[in-house]
Amino acid sequence: MDDPNRPLTDPDLSDEDVLDAMRHIPGYLDITVEDFRILYRLARNHALTRTFAHVRAGQLMRSGIVPVRPGDRLDQAARTMANQCLKSIPVIDDQGCVMGMLTESDYLRRLGAEGFLELMLRLILDPVGLRQCCHEMPVNTAMTAPATTVPEVADFSGIVAAFRRCHGRSLPVVDRGGQLKGLLMRKAFVAACHLGPWEETAP
């Protein structure tokens, strides 16, 4: 069975794959299958490095994010998130270092709901109880900690590795001291990479 964690950019080229490709190119190709594989890997790595050389987390991040504190109440944190149109928000300590991330999923889990429909029903049935719950609970009881962060200087592969680790839609970007500098949105990263469909080129 295929490894689901294997990167799409690193397909395992079998001998048959290469030989089949060679059949599509007219004329005798003076190259062995193994040499082609080595060339392909080196050229692909070089192309990726060149193509994404400009991609840095610090350049793509959204700065000016107002974070929340671990002692903030959940309703207060929700207001902060909504004001910034965020689905997740970094939680920082007194030194400005990222302690965790508070996401919409964290809210649902902490409020005992499987999804937003269930939360809405609870809101209809018991609005006072829900409001009280949100008003009393501090952020640190609901947040996901520790958070996966990405350094400002992280390049393409560093960002990809970070997103693969956390599966979130956004990553807190930190400086060398671990202090929050901004939030890197997955959609902003994908847009910067210009990832499009494969285009077939004639030999």
């Binding site: 007219p26 004329g27 005798y28 003076d30 062995t32 299958v33 193994e34």
Partner: protein, 182 residues
């Protein structure tokens, strides 16, 4: 490297042989090599018969394989086709002249040094090894040519093969020659 690893390398790395080329490729390889070699033979007979010079040497057969049968190969490109023969001829004649009393050393030295020099000058062309060897083991006619062997046949012959390769290899839509000049 362990002994086991050393012998394991002899098993090869690929399962399945390279694909056979199309019928069209086979035909154009035949046409190109036929015209190429016959052109060299025609020039040789027309201009050098009766002189001390000869234009046709065995290594052109191998050059024809590359120039008309494997046109995409880096070894078949103009720099290699012409440069490989010239460099090898220089080495071959030098070895013959410098080591007249030790033929085995002259022969081995000519081929191995030609390969090294072709590598160093980025003109590797397998038939060049034969051109260097012919300069040492060739007939009296070849030996009498001395350094002229570098010009005729080692430069003129490949130039004729190159001209034919340019004219013939670019006729079919699926072929292009050269991939790179220098």
């Amino acid at each position: 490297m362990s002994l086991r690893k050393y012998f394991r390398k002899m098993r090869g790395s690929t399962h399945g042989s390279p694909p056979r080329v199309s019928h069209s490729e086979i035909l154009w390889s035949w046409i190109g090599s036929f015209i190429g070699i016959s052109s060299v033979a025609w020039v040789s007979m027309g201009f050098f018969q009766g002189t001390d010079l000869t234009l046709m040497i065995g290594s052109y057969g191998a050059s024809a394989v590359l120039a008309y049968g494997a046109v995409r190969s880096p070894l078949a490109q103009p720099r290699n086709l012409v440069g490989g023969h010239i460099v090898s001829a220089l080495i071959g004649v030098a070895c013959y002249k410098l080591l007249p009393g030790v033929p085995w050393l002259a022969q081995a030295g000519a081929v191995s040094t030609a390969i090294a020099m072709m590598h160093a000058t980025r003109t590797l062309h397998p038939p060049g090894g034969a051109t260097a060897l012919i300069a040492v083991i060739g007939s009296e006619e070849i030996h009498r040519m001395g350094w002229l062997y570098v010009l005729v046949p080692a430069t003129l012959g490949p130039l004729i093969l190159l001209a034919v390769a340019l004219l013939v290899n670019n006729i079919p839509a699926t072929r292009r020659y050269p991939e790179i000049w220098f």
